[in-house]
C-alpha cells in the first residue's frame, strides 16, 4: 500500500476526451462559475456569455477553461444538457495581428465599389475571419470524428407498427464492408476541408445510412439540421479561403400583340382590294338583275354600292392591327466578402445550436497582443452582439489587461467593457482549493468524493468484521434481481431481507494518516502557486508513480513538520477577518496576498540573515512585492529606469496602502512563528471558526505534527520586530535558543529513552496477548 500520485490526463488530451479518464483540476470559484454558465448555455437557458478570464502566468487559465468544457461535454453525453459543447480554439495574436505582420490569409479587403481600390482589413474583419476559420476547423473535426464513430455502433431504429404487430424486429443493415465505410469516412474528412456543397453532404448521409439519426447521435432531433449547419459552415469557410463569387442572372421578357382581323401579308394590297370590290359589286348587280327584282339601273347602283362597301371594309381591318414588347435583364452578384461574416456568423451559430452543438470560443494568449486595450475596442463596437449575446466567448489574458479593465470600470461610468464582458474572472486559488486538489474532497451531500492527486488505496476492513454489504452466499445471478428474489418470484414466498449492512469501517493506515501532512508540506514548498505545486509533486514521485517518502516520515522528520507548521500559520493569517474581507471584495488580490505572506518563507533561503520587519523595512517589502507580482508582461527596465519598449504595458504597482496592509500581516505571521502561546491561541480560535462556518476542522494528524509545545521557528529580538530563523530548511538547528521562549524541556540521554520505548513496547505486546 503506497500513496499513489495520479495527476490524470490533460482536459483536451485523447485520454480524457476518448477514454473518458477523469481529469484532476485545482478548482476555484472562477471555475465553478464558468462551469455553471457553460451548463446554462448548453441547456439553452442563456443565449450567450462573454468571459474575461485573467490570471498570472502558470495559474492554469487555459486548463481551467478546458476542464470546464470537458465537464459539460461529459454531462452532455449523459444527456444532462440539451446541446453538446463544441470547443473553438482561437489564438489571440492571430485574432489581432500586428499591422506590420498582416493577417494570415487574404490581407486586403476586396476593391470597394466604384473606386476599384483595396483597403486594409479592419480589426473586426480580421477577427471575423479567424473566428470563421476556427469554427470551421472545430466543426469539421467534430463531424469527421462522429462520422467515423457512427460506423462502430450498431444501427438501432424504432420499430414500425407492423413490425410490432408481427413481433419480429427488423433492423436496417449496412451493406457496405467495414473497409469501405472507413474509406468513406476518410473521404468525408478530406472533403470537409474542401468546402463540399449541401448536395454532396446529402450524398454522404445517404450512403452511410444516416438519414434517420444523423452522425452526431442526438435523439429526437431532425438529422437534416446537421447537414444545414455543416454546409453553412463550409460555405463560410469558402468565403475566407479564396476568391469565391456567386452570380445569379434573371431575364424577364414580355410581349403584347393585338390583331382584330385577319391580315394578309401581301405587297399588292390595293390591287387585291380593287379586284375584290369589283367582283363583289358585279356579283351583287348580276344577282339583282337576274332576280328581276330590280331594273338595270338599280342593279348597277347596287353593284357599285357593294363594291364601295367591300373596299371600305378591307381598308378598315388593315389599320387596326398592332403589337408591343418589353425586355429586362437582372444580374445579382452575392457579396461574399469577409466583411459580411458578421451577418453570417450568428446564423451559423444558430444552425449549429439547432443541430445540437453549442460553440464555445476560447481566445487564448491575448496577453501577447500589443496594445490590446485599444484594439479590442474596435472589435467590441462591431461584434458585441455576436460575442456577448449570440455565442459563448472566453478571453484569456494576463493580469495587466484585467487591471486596466477594472481600473476603467472604477473611474469611468459604464465603459464599453462593462457589458462586453458579462463576467470578469481572476483565476486564483484558496488554500482549500489546493488541499482539495491534493487530497480530494467531498462535495455536496450525496455527491461523490472527488479524488485528488495523492490517493491512498482503500484499507481493508478490520479483522472479524463484515464487509459492506455482505456478499450473497449464492453465486451472482444473471439478472439485476438477486438470486433470492428470482427464486421467490417463482415460488411466491418473500425473500429474506438483505444482510445487515452496518459494520465497523476500515481503519486508517499509515499512508492515509500521512496524506494531510503531505498536502500542507507541498503547499508551503510551492508557495501556493499552481505550476510550482505540480513541480513539487513531481519531485515526490518515485519510479512506480508513488510518493517516494516512506510511511510516517512526514510525521516525524523535522524538515517536513516545519513546512506544515509554517503553512498552517500562513493559512491562519490568510483567514484573518480583515484579509478575508479584502479577498472577498477583490479576488484578484489573493495572489498578491499569497506572495506577501510567503515573504518570510522566501527569506528562509538565507536562514542566517536577520529579517527586518521594522517600519523602515516597508519600502524593501514593497520592492519585493513589485518584483513578485508587478512585472508580469512588462519589459525589463533598463539602467535608466525606462522600459525598452515605449508601448509596453505599465507594470502593475501594488498600492502603498496594500503594501502596508500586507506588511502588517507578515508581522502577525512572524509573531505566530516566534510565540508558541500565540500560535496555539490563534489556532484554537481559527479551528473553532472553521467548524462553525461549515468547513472541516484541520485534520487531527496535522495538529499532532505541530511542534508548538517544544519548538518555535523564529527567534525575535527584544522589540519583536527583527527575527532570525532557528532552523535551516533541512530541519537542522541554527544554534541555541536565546530568546524569551528558550525554556525547552531538558534533554535526557538517548539511551534512557531508548530503553523506555523498548520496555513499553514489550509491556504492550504482553498485555494485549
Amino acid at each position: 500500500v503506497a500513496i499513489r500520485i495520479v495527476e490524470g490526463p490533460e482536459p483536451l488530451s485523447a485520454q480524457a476526451l476518448e477514454a473518458g479518464e477523469e481529469c484532476i483540476l485545482i478548482e476555484s470559484e472562477a471555475y465553478r462559475l464558468l462551469v455553471e454558465e457553460l451548463r446554462r448555455y448548453c441547456r439553452r437557458e442563456v443565449t450567450g456569455r462573454s468571459f474575461l478570464i485573467a490570471g498570472h502566468r502558470g495559474s492554469g487559465k487555459t486548463t481551467m477553461v478546458s476542464s470546464a468544457f470537458l465537464q459539460v461535454l461529459q454531462e452532455s453525453k449523459r444527456r444532462q444538457t440539451r446541446l453538446r459543447p463544441l470547443l473553438v480554439q482561437l489564438h489571440g495574436p492571430s485574432l489581432f495581428p500586428e499591422p506590420s505582420q498582416g493577417a494570415p490569409g487574404p490581407s486586403a479587403a476586396p476593391p470597394s465599389a466604384g473606386t476599384g481600390t483595396t483597403r486594409p482589413k479592419t480589426d473586426a474583419e480580421l477577427a471575423l475571419e479567424q473566428i470563421t476559420l476556427g469554427l470551421h476547423r472545430a466543426v469539421a473535426r467534430e463531424f469527421s470524428a462522429a462520422f467515423r464513430a457512427a460506423f462502430d455502433v450498431p444501427v438501432v431504429r424504432e420499430q414500425s407498427w407492423w413490425q410490432k404487430l408481427i413481433g419480429i424486429p427488423i433492423q436496417p443493415v449496412r451493406f457496405w464492408s467495414h473497409a469501405a465505410l472507413a474509406e468513406l469516412a476518410a473521404a468525408f474528412e478530406v472533403e470537409l476541408y474542401e468546402g463540399p456543397t449541401a448536395a454532396r453532404l446529402r450524398w454522404y448521409w445517404n450512403h452511410a445510412n444516416l438519414d434517420g439519426v444523423g452522425i452526431l447521435g442526438f435523439d429526437g432531433r431532425d438529422p437534416m439540421r446537421q447537414i444545414v449547419a455543416l454546409s453553412g459552415v463550409c460555405d463560410a469557410y469558402r468565403r475566407i479561403s479564396g476568391t469565391y463569387e456567386l452570380e445569379e442572372k434573371l431575364k424577364d421578357e414580355a410581349k403584347r400583340e393585338l390583331q382584330r382581323t385577319l391580315g394578309i401579308d401581301s405587297k399588292d394590297t390595293a390591287l387585291f382590294t380593287s379586284l375584290v370590290s369589283l367582283l363583289t359589286g358585279g356579283l351583287v348587280g348580276t344577282g339583282l338583275f337576274a332576280a328581276a327584282a330590280a331594273g338595270g339601273p338599280a342593279s348597277t347602283v347596287g353593284g357599285v354600292l357593294s363594291a364601295l362597301a367591300a373596299a371600305g371594309i378591307l381598308k378598315y381591318s388593315t389599320t387596326r392591327s398592332g403589337s408591343r414588347a418589353a425586355s429586362r435583364e437582372y444580374r445579382f452578384i452575392f457579396d461574399l466578402s469577409a466583411a459580411t461574416l458578421d451577418r453570417v456568423l450568428p446564423v451559423l451559430i444558430e444552425r449549429l445550436q439547432l443541430a445540437g452543438l453549442a460553440p464555445i470560443f476560447v481566445v487564448d494568449e491575448l496577453d501577447k497582443v500589443k496594445d490590446l486595450s485599444s484594439r479590442i475596442l474596435g472589435m467590441v463596437h462591431h461584434l458585441k452582439k455576436l460575442v456577448a449575446e449570440n455565442a459563448f466567448f472566453c478571453f484569456l489574458t494576463d493580469r495587466t489587461y484585467f487591471e486596466g479593465v477594472v481600473r476603467r470600470g472604477a473611474t469611468i461610468a459604464y465603459p464599453v467593457e462593462y457589458t462586453y464582458f458579462t463576467h470578469q474572472l481572476f483565476v486564483a486559488f484558496s488554500p482549500c482549493d489546493f488541499h482539495a486538489y491534493i487530497q480530494g474532497h467531498e462535495a455536496a451531500a450525496g455527491a461523490p468524493v472527488r479524488e485528488g492527486v495523492l490517493r491512498v488505496p482503500r484499507p481493508p476492513a478490520p479483522p472479524g468484521t463484515q464487509a459492506t454489504p455482505a456478499p450473497s452466499p449464492t453465486p451472482p445471478p444473471a439478472s439485476v434481481m438477486s438470486a433470492a428474489g428470482s427464486a421467490s418470484a417463482t415460488a411466491g414466498a418473500p425473500p429474506p431481507p438483505p444482510t445487515p449492512g452496518a459494520t465497523l469501517a476500515a481503519t486508517p493506515t499509515s499512508e492515509s494518516t500521512d496524506l494531510p501532512l503531505l498536502s500542507y508540506m507541498l503547499l508551503h514548498r510551492s508557495r501556493m502557486h499552481a505550476i510550482d505545486l505540480r513541480r513539487e509533486i513531481a519531485l515526490l514521485r518515485d519510479d512506480d508513480g508513488n510518493v517516494a517518502l516512506s510511511p510516517g516520515t512526514v510525521r516525524t522528520d523535522r524538515t517536513y513538520r516545519l513546512d506544515v507548521q509554517i503553512q498552517l500559520a500562513v493559512e491562519m493569517v490568510l483567514d484573518s477577518v480583515e484579509l478575508r474581507a479584502k479577498l472577498e471584495r477583490d479576488p484578484s488580490f489573493r495572489r498578491t496576498a499569497h506572495d506577501g505572506l510567503y515573504f518570510l518563507s522566501r527569506r528562509w533561503a538565507d536562514p542566517g540573515a536577520a529579517i527586518d520587519l521594522t517600519d523602515g523595512a516597508l519600502p524593501g517589502f514593497g520592492t519585493y512585492l513589485t518584483e513578485r507580482v508587478g512585472t508580469e508582461g512588462t519589459q525589463p527596465a533598463t539602467a535608466s529606469g525606462l522600459s525598452q519598449n515605449p508601448v509596453a504595458p505599465q507594470p502593475v504597482v501594488v498600492p502603498v496602502v496594500d503594501q502596508d496592509f500586507l506588511f502588517g500581516r507578515v508581522r502577525r505571521l512572524a509573531t505566530l512563528l516566534s510565540d508558541p502561546a500565540a500560535y496555539k491561541a490563534r489556532f484554537k480560535e481559527w479551528n473553532a471558526m472553521r467548524s462553525s462556518s461549515g468547513l472541516r476542522p484541520v485534520d487531527q494528524t496535522v495538529v499532532d505534527a505541530l511542534m508548538i509545545d517544544t519548538e518555535y521557528l523564529l527567534e525575535p529580538d527584544a522589540a519583536h520586530l527583527t527575527f532570525r530563523w532557528r532552523f535551516d530548511t533541512a530541519g537542522g538547528s541554527l544554534g541555541a535558543a536565546a530568546g524569551p521562549q528558550a525554556a525547552a524541556p531538558p534533554i535526557q540521554p538517548w539511551r534512557d529513552d531508548l530503553m523506555f520505548v523498548q520496555g513499553f513496547a514489550a509491556v504492550l505486546a504482553e498485555v494485549v496477548r
Partner: protein, 444 residues
Amino acid sequence: MIDFGTLSTQLRVIKTSPAWEVVRGAVDRLSGLDDKAPLLPDQSQDAEAVRAFAGLLRQDGDLIALALVCGAFVGQASTQLPAERLLIGLTAISQALRLKDKSDEVVREDLQRLTADVSSRFKLELSAQPIAPPGDVGALAAYKSELQQAIAGARAFSFESAREATRARAWPAAAERMKAFLTAATSSVPSPLPSVDEMLTLVAGTSPGSLVPFDLAEATIVHWSGVFDRASRGMRPPTDVEFAPPWLAAVSLAALGFWFKNPNELVQWLGSIPRASPEPGSSSTVDEIGNAFSAFHLIGSPRAERGVLVLYDQTRSLIADWKPSTRTASLCLTGGQLQTLAQADALRPPRLPESLLPRFDVVAVEDEGTDRSMTGEPLWTRLITSREVLGPQRTLGDVLGHSPTLVRFVRDRPRVPVPNVPLVPGPKSIDDLFPVDLTPQLAR
C-alpha cells in the same frame, strides 16, 4: 497484534506524530550503538525521534491503559476469537467516539466518560483507580501489573447476560442520534455520540448498532433502504438480532430524501404493508409510525426535486457506496423486495398513496424493442429489458399496477473501449444516474 502504530494511526488513541513506523526503525538502529560514542547526524535524528516518542509515551501512558481496558470490555460482545476481541472493541470505540478528530486531552475525557457509563449501567468498575503513566523504565513493571489486572476485570463481563437490557437501552439512544442527524440542517444541537450500549450491539452484530454506521453521514442509500425494507415489513420479531421497529420506516424514508407535507396517507400505507411482527395493520404499528413523524420532526416541504425507485443488484451494483442526495430522493430495492411489495399490492393504487405516486418513478426501460439509438447511449451501461429484471410474462405494469413515468433499466458493464467511440465516465452518484430529464425538450 496491537502495537503503538495500531494505537496511533489506526485507532487514534495516541498522537500520530512521531510515527511509530519511523521510530521503530530508529530504535533498531540505535540499539546496537555504544552510548558513549558520539552520534552521527543521521543517528542524532534517530535519537531525536526516539526521545520525542518516549515523551509521548510518558505523557499518554494513562491514555493507552484506559483505552485498552475499555476496548477489552466492549470487545466482550464479539463472538470472534478472544485474541481479536480487544482490537474489535478498540475499533468500535475509536469509530463511535470519532477519536480521529480529537486531541489526546479530549480522547482522555471521552474514555473516562465511557468508563463512568460502564460503571453506572453495568455496575462494573473497569479500573478502581486511574493507571498512572510510567515515567521511566523502572515504573513499567507496576504499570503492566495494574493494566493486566484491569483488563482481566473487563474481560469478566458477560454480554449474553446483559444482551436484552443493552438493546433496550440502545434503541432510544440510536433514535436520539437519528433525530439529531435528520434535523441537523435546522438545529444547532450537536449530534450525540453513540452510547456504550450501541457500541456493544454493533460488536455483537445486533440491531440497532448493526443497522447503519455510527457516523450517519456515512450511511449509504443501500443502508437506509435496507432499514426501510426491514422496518416496513417487520420481518423479524423484536428479539431477533435484525429486528427494526416500524417507526424506522418513516425515519429511513426521510433519510433517503422523502419528506412529507401530510403524512397520514403514508402512515396508512406503511401500516398496511404485511408484517411478520407485530400483526399487519395493527393500531400499534400505525400509531408508532404516526408518532415518528412528530417525534422526529419529519413533517415539512419535500427537499428533493424528484424521487426514484432503484432496482439494484445486491451482489454487484454501481450504487453500493452512494449516499443519499438532497436533490434526488431514492429508494433501492432488489427485484425480490420489489416483488414482495408488489405481491402485497403495496405498490398498487390506492394502497400506494396518490401523493407518493409521482415520487416512485421506476428505473426501467420500456418493453422489448427499445427505440433508442445506441449511438447516443453511454457505453458504461447496457440497456436491458424489463423481462430480464422481472422475469418472463411480467411487465412493470403488471407489478406496479400503473405505468411509471420514467422508465429505464440500465446495467453497468465493463468499460470496453470501442474503436473511435469516446467513452463517458460512469455515474458516481444518484444525481449522475438520473440527470435532469431532457428528453421531452430534445424532442421539440
